[in-house]
């Protein structure tokens, strides 16, 4: 059976924390609480996604893509933002969402296939739960988020606001035309945007060396006059630092930055995928040794920011937090069928109200095709 060969990307990139947790550069200026929060966020994200995976296996969740082993990239990037900024995530950036408090129960209800209106009804956001950073809905069509992010950033620039817009792109998605449009517009209009390339080296079954003949993803942004950085994406400090610099540049009116974060998709693309079919799973070993949580934990333990007891306590808290999110999400009732009509156009057109009535009749066991005059059903 054919397997893809892998080409290991150059590790000639910005790194602060070596895979064994020792410092090879200057750590960012974060206090112990902040350091612990980053750790907590990665652990919580992993626990949450593992739970969602199990719920998928048991049929409660239809599909999930985990960011396991990649948690440092979206987290370090999102943590560089400030309240009021904008973030445009895809589906593999959960640690970033978790950091800013996008409620886990709402996330899980979404994974369970609930309509957004149903989630809003049963798990409404309020002043306490509304995340301080603005998150767009997650994007599934690859690349579509990128030009929207540019538009968001351009809006702030034109209105003389110092808000920053940050978004993500997978290695595979750099091949989309939207990537080209977004980077090009960003360069021309010098918008306050930050693009994080989460290069996990696989797009489902297609390896990065089949996506592009360029040596790195980072250098792609040269083509648009957009400066770039390339960092160890499994090193929370490296990601955080370069993302922070990029965010600051944007906030200071110095335009966009593109940051390639080199990581690895150590797990399945999503729960419908089985990677051993197309790649040599022994490669995982190499990357498991570079796990972002492990190395960070080693560092925090060595520095005395955390103790083993702290970790045990955290794990208990995390279990509880996940369990309560699961309980809350399970409490969300199945979405009502008529939700499918919601939030298309304002007002109710003839067509919409007629089709709503048809659906209602059908659900009532009545024939929906007997309005012969267009005047409605009696």
């Amino acid at each position: 059976m054919a397997l893809w060969s892998e080409e290991r990307p150059s590790e000639d990139f910005y790194r602060v924390l070596a895979p064994d947790g020792t410092l090879v550069g200057d750590p960012p200026d974060l206090d112990d609480d902040e350091l612990r929060e980053l750790y907590w966020t990665m652990k919580l994200t992993r626990a949450f996604e593992d739970k969602a995976l199990r719920m998928q296996r048991s049929g409660e969740v239809s599909i999930i893509s985990r960011c396991r082993g990649e948690e440092a990239t979206p987290l370090g990037a999102a943590a560089a933002l400030s309240p009021g900024d904008w973030c445009f995530p895809l589906y593999r950036q959960r640690s970033g969402l978790v950091y800013w408090g996008v409620p886990l129960d709402r996330q899980l209800a979404n994974l369970m296939g609930a309509e957004p209106e149903t989630i809003d009804d049963h798990l409404p956001l309020d002043d306490a739960t509304e995340p301080p950073v603005n998150f767009s809905p997650g994007y599934v069509p690859l690349g579509a988020n990128l030009p929207n992010t540019v538009g968001s950033a351009l809006t702030d620039k034109l209105n003389d606001r110092d808000t920053v817009s940050l978004t993500f792109v997978g290695d595979g998605s750099t091949s989309q035309g939207d990537f080209h449009d977004a980077l090009n517009f960003a360069g021309v209009f010098e918008v306050p945007a930050v693009f994080i390339c989460q290069n996990n080296q696989w797009a489902i079954s297609v390896p990065a060396h089949r996506q592009t003949a360029s040596e790195t993803f980072a250098e792609k942004s040269d083509a648009y006059g957009v400066p770039n950085e390339r960092v160890d994406g499994n090193d929370i400090f490296a990601v955080y630092e370069k993302a922070t610099e990029a965010v600051e540049r944007a906030r200071n009116g110095e335009g966009p930055t593109f940051v390639e974060c080199v990581t690895y998709r150590i797990v399945e693309h999503n729960t419908a995928d089985e990677p051993s079919v197309y790649r040599d799973e022994e490669q995982r070993e190499y990357w498991l040794e570079r796990d972002p949580i492990d190395r960070y934990e080693a560092y925090l333990l060595a520095e005395g920011v955390l103790t083993d007891e702290d970790i045990d306590a955290m794990e208990d808290e995390i279990s509880e937090e996940v369990a309560s999110a699961v309980a809350a999400a399970r409490d969300v009732p199945e979405s009502a069928p008529h939700r499918m009509f919601d939030n298309h156009l304002r007002g109710e057109s003839w067509n919409e109200s007629h089709q709503r009535a048809e659906l209602e009749r059908e659900l009532d066991g009545k024939n929906p095709f007997v309005d012969w005059t267009g005047e409605g059903f009696e």
């Binding site: 767009s136 030009p147 929207n148 809006t155 449009d181 304002r346 057109s349 919409e352």
Partner: protein, 333 residues
């Protein structure tokens, strides 16, 4: 104005002038109105619809972009998500297709997939239509791709007077709108346009002419052809100018056809899955027993828009409308 109720002074205007002045007026009253597109700045649009606007509003309101339709729509959606009332321009409908990704994934879908949390209050101006001896790509009328798509209003004025009220309403509306401008209407026709500002509803057809014998449903540049046909034919023709193609004003269509018992749909687009198909189906479904003849479709043919030597034979005109009217008038069970 709810249709013919605007009073007061009027000025003779063509469509280019009307679009230009309406854009300017909206930009004066609302700072969040920005124009986005290529060739809209110093050149003032290849048809001069944005002439002078960059002088008055500057290049942060009238923004020339790189040459990418998908980039324009994608950026415009991002701006609209942040509350700007962007008015992106697609220079020719035939060049809209590279932007179909952004159109489908964000423009028409953002509000629905966000459960109503995120609005996209933009108005895409799209230049369409044939009959000016341009090249094939510059002459297309492919509104079906838009109308089959939920989540977007499709507005199509038949002349300057309608355009003024519909464009103002589109820009002020919180739903995304595609506003179609038929290039043949740009300069060929002048009519009195009320000076005062007004909006028109974005979901109501206009009864352009009342009649008892047959309903002609049409829009855009075909409305005036329909009027000529009505003048030339031996029947009392009711003409509906749809104005908004999505959502359809089915009520007005059904009311009219139930009254007349006969219907012709008359449009420039190709026939197969042109909007005439939908209108025929709706009439069939809800006015079947009032029909005295099959609905007929006087349309373009199911071909790629032809070269300019023969576009005249492709395009429907008053004569083709007249044939269709005569056919349904002459039909006997």
């Amino acid at each position: 104005m709810s249709d013919a109720q605007v009073t007061g002074e009027t000025t003779e205007r063509n469509l280019v002038e009307t679009i230009n002045e309406t854009l300017a007026a909206e930009m004066r009253t609302d700072d969040t109105v920005r124009l986005l597109g290529y060739d809209i700045g110093p050149i003032g649009g290849v048809y001069r619809t944005t002439e002078g606007l960059i002088d008055e509003f500057g290049d942060e309101r009238v923004i020339d972009t790189p040459l990418s339709e998908n980039g324009i729509l994608g950026t415009a959606v991002g701006m609209a998500m942040r509350g700007e009332r962007v008015v992106p321009e697609i220079q020719f409908m035939g060049f809209f297709y590279p932007a179909f990704g952004q159109f489908m994934y964000t423009l028409v879908k953002m509000r629905e997939r966000s459960g109503g949390a995120v609005d996209v209050p933009l108005t895409v101006r799209m230049v369409c239509g044939g009959g000016v001896k341009s090249s094939e790509y510059h002459s297309e009328s492919t509104e079906s791709y838009l109308v089959h798509t939920p989540g977007v209003r499709v507005v199509y004025p038949s002349g300057p007077r309608e355009a003024k009220g519909l464009l103002a309403a589109s820009i002020r509306h919180d739903d995304p709108v595609v506003f179609m401008e038929h290039k043949k209407l740009y300069r060929t026709h002048r009519e009195p346009v009320p000076d005062e500002e007004y909006t028109l509803p974005l979901d109501r057809a206009r009864v352009a002419r009342e009649g008892e014998d047959v309903t002609v449903v049409t829009w855009g540049a075909m409305v005036r052809e329909a009027e000529q046909a009505a003048d030339a034919v031996d029947a009392d023709v009711e003409i509906l100018d749809l104005r908004t193609l999505s959502p359809l004003d089915i009520e007005t269509v059904l009311d009219s056809v139930k009254k007349t018992g006969r219907c012709v749909v008359f449009h420039e687009a190709r026939r197969t899955l042109g909007l005439g198909a939908e209108l025929t189906a709706v009439v069939n479904e809800y006015a079947f027993d009032r029909l005295l003849a099959p609905v007929q479709r006087a349309t373009g043919y199911d071909v790629h828009f032809p070269g300019n030597q023969i576009e005249g034979e492709y395009l429907p005109d008053a004569q083709r409308a007249k044939y269709a009217i005569e056919a349904v008038m002459g039909y006997e069970f």
